[in-house]
Symmetry: C2
Subunit: 201 residues, 2 copies
């Protein structure tokens, strides 16, 4: 016996494939779509259909760009300083940096992190292309903006070693107390890093 | 300057229309769709497109059914007792009751609750059809399974008044301590209801 019609079960199942969406949330989304007119469903459906065909990668930075566009605006724009490169793991990581409105350099998306368990070695990442950019654009500073986990740290270390012989300054984002967090609530590792990285005033 | 390609922005915006989905969650869903192959996107897109055209309402219970089907399995199935009706506000409410595997009566979906603020009066709900069923199917018990909020309670009261002159037993779901909740953690209203509804053992 069907409690719900198959078309609705299909939609609940499809929503359930999204990350972090359990059966209850999937039902909630599906019921919302059902209660609203076909326009809401159509808008989401169209956006889904068009996604893969309309997205490409910047040939320099490997950031996401409109299909057919060779380079990202974040590279070609004249206000961007091509001599500074922030190296990030995934295309979405640069959105966070971009939203600070403070960074005026360019980006380089690695396309992942070195992870021997998952069979991802340095040659699968866009590290060779990073080396080329360093020479071509006479880069002065590389900011390694990978996450602080094991994979992020080892990828950063690998890139650092590869860049050893090039005349480029290598930096990492500062680790320390987040703004608004009290000393008593900070975790030990963050606090250790904040101590190590203390600055004269 | 576009940080993300328009096709991706469109998808993030469309996901953001779902209930309880903020910009971060919408980005997470969109990036998940992008990382996966077109098949995942296609499956969700198809389910969305097909939804409205393949769903109808049961002519008796107003539960959701496959398009073209006149009555819900939950009504026509021979094992269901048509002399007991659980009255619920929305089509999804019966799913919860159905999952208990305890209830063998039928359902009646009101299609909402009486709410003067939103301009929803008794005539917009399927209350007249409920009266007809009571007579037609010689119903013996009506279980008012609307939520405990103001609208749920007033809708239940209204239906109770309408059924006054008919020879039918009217019940409500028991309010009391949920299984697994200790006395000391129960809220006052629930505890008052549990006291009121205490049973001899």
């Amino acid at each position: 016996m069907h409690i719900l019609p198959p078309a609705l079960d299909d939609l609940i199942e499809a929503f359930g494939a999204l990350p972090g969406v359990g059966p209850k949330t999937a039902e909630r989304y599906a019921y919302f779509i059902l209660r609203n007119d076909k326009h809401t469903a159509g808008k989401l459906s169209d956006a889904l259909t068009q996604l893969h065909d309309n997205i490409g990668y910047c040939k320099k930075t490997f950031a996401l760009v409109e299909k057919g566009k060779e380079f990202s605006d974040l590279y070609t724009d004249h206000s961007r300083n091509k001599k500074i490169i922030a190296v990030v793991a995934e295309p979405f990581d640069l959105v966070a940096l971009e939203k600070t409105n403070e960074y005026k350099g360019t980006y380089h998306v690695l396309g992942g992190l070195i992870s021997p368990i998952d069979g991802i070695g340095p040659e699968q990442l866009h590290i060779r292309e990073l080396m080329q950019r360093v020479t071509e654009d006479e880069v002065e500073e590389i900011i390694l903006a990978t996450n602080a986990g094991v994979e992020g740290e080892s990828t950063a270390l690998y890139i650092q070693q590869q860049l050893r012989d090039l005349p480029v300054r290598i930096t990492r984002l500062a680790r320390g107390l987040p703004v608004g967090v009290d000393l008593e609530y900070a975790d030990q590792i963050t606090l250790s890093r904040a101590l190590e990285g203390r600055q004269s005033i």
